[in-house]
Symmetry: C2
Subunit: 316 residues, 2 copies
């Protein structure tokens, strides 16, 4: 199993992904309780809120309040998502970890529907973010290429578009004297199969052999965990995921099972294959069960319902 | 992608797996309608009923009636499951495809709980089945090793137990002048990760390089489709699966998400990776939706909720 990484880094997206798409609006106290419980599991980065228009995502209207109320652990980064300069400016006023990113979308139509901007306009917007990062000494980390495997408006997204967005991200960073930590490919609407993972990451690796690649995957069509596995076999060790499988993009134009890859299912698979995540699986399962209680319905995670294998090992 | 098979053979288990575990008892007419719809999708083998004690599985009490009522297509095999001689004798009286198998369990405790027999007693029972196959000119096809990746009573199942059960199956077949088509490993209670799939199939291949291996997988802990992918990469082209992800063993002592790997999710992944299944995915998705209607609640399949990608391709 030498081709698998020894350690996998997980960015927990559940609070943001879940709260942005679930119809129930939790109280600030419940949101905070959920985030604080996640912080106790050993996960090192939690995406807590998004700074978006409350008319489009009403359940994020109290994002500032939530950001202020969390009791922070020093070893955890508490992040937020912005899609425009206004959101970034808002994030900078709050006691959050503002981690700089570049965010481009490989599909023109999706870009417009999701952020109201063409790809060209988004590139300009990124310059404005990068100037802000520089002004505020914000570290730049990952470039994100959204809809890197397909688009629910355009269908196929040519790999050349993805390559162009990666090059664009690298160039934008360089323009502001930054170097990216790596590139995240996001399967925003759940089109990818393991073969796509291998093919697209393979193409990026040919062009940029030393570039780190991360994956933000949605399990829309059941291939999420298989996609993780294909990536692990290629040495990918950086994933976004969502406790209990919460989530889905509210602008992606599809109903149904659209959640992110489920964190505890991913952690379960990693641990069972000898890959460390730094996360306490049992504590994470409790968080997933808390999410079901908070949102008031069954969520798609599997291990949270079946339990891990630890009880069988103790019995043996 | 030369390491992937070109064609994958699927045995549809949904009617049997679903009806044996769902609390709702469908009418004979609904069961038949469901099976007949599945037969129109291009799937070549459907497990329709199990011949078990109606006191233990009341929803299978009308198995004979169902078996008789199905209008059969000549290109589809309609099978049933028996766990003892009485069940086999019952199957032989019905207009079903009686496909001979050898069924051993790698965990002693599971064997007793599931079939009321020790492994040694099960081996004797298989001799009685094999004699019956010979008497009735029943072809012998696969040997099944249940709990081949773990047991919800015993925990770990040593790979040596699995190897012993494979050897035992081969020997039993030979004793009656049969040759097995291959061996199915069943992850009856959903313990397997892709690493386990590779390791255990790898060990069997070392010992029996030419033996065909099939997989019967449960997606109890979210690794089901990843396990399929790991097996495909090893050239495995024979899978059991269950439309809509129906199913779960009623005697496996666990609650929660215990269904089989979902047929349409598996078919979706195969087709998207260029692997033929002979199945019409859209027709199969309709069957999955029919299953939700019949059983009256959401089922775990993903593609049935999100839809396939065909509509994006047509639009493009």
């Amino acid at each position: 199993m030498t081709d698998l990484p020894r350690h996998v880094h997980i960015h927990e997206e559940g609070p943001r992904e879940g709260i942005q798409i679930e119809p129930v609006n939790l109280s600030v106290a419940d949101k905070v309780r959920f985030i604080e419980a996640l912080a106790e599991t050993g996960v090192r980065q939690i995406d807590c809120v998004s700074f978006v228009n409350p008319k489009r995502v009403p359940t994020m209207a109290d994002a500032d309040e939530v950001a202020r109320a969390i009791r922070k652990r020093p070893d955890v980064r508490y992040t937020g998502l912005w899609l425009n300069q206004k959101g970034l400016d808002r994030a900078l006023t709050l006691p959050l970890d503002v981690v700089g990113s570049i965010r481009l979308t490989a599909s023109e139509t999706f870009s417009v529907r999701n952020t109201n901007r063409t790809i060209a306009q988004t590139i300009d917007e990124q310059r404005s973010w990068l100037a802000t990062y520089r002004r505020h000494d914000v570290p730049l980390e990952w470039g994100y290429v959204m809809t890197a495997f397909g688009c629910s408006f355009e269908g196929e997204v040519p790999v050349d578009n993805v390559v162009a967005m990666v090059q664009q991200s690298i160039d934008l960073a360089a323009e502001f004297d930054y170097a990216l930590k790596g590139i995240y490919l996001a399967d925003t609407v759940g089109f990818a199969t393991p073969a796509d993972i291998e093919r697209r990451i393979g193409i990026l690796r040919e062009k940029w052999p030393d570039m780190k690649v991360g994956l933000h995957l949605h399990d829309t069509r059941g291939t999420g965990v298989a996609n993780v596995y294909a990536a692990l076999k290629m040495g990918v060790d950086q994933f976004d995921s969502s406790v209990a499988g919460l989530g889905g993009c509210p602008f992606a134009e599809h109903k149904g099972a659209a959640g992110n890859v489920c964190t505890e299912d991913l952690v379960f698979m990693c641990h069972e294959m000898g890959i460390d995540t730094g996360i306490d699986l049992e504590a994470l399962i409790e968080c997933a069960r808390m999410a079901e209680e908070l949102f008031g319905h069954a969520l798609p995670g599997k291990v949270m319902h079946a339990g891990s294998l630890s009880r069988f090992r103790k019995a043996a």
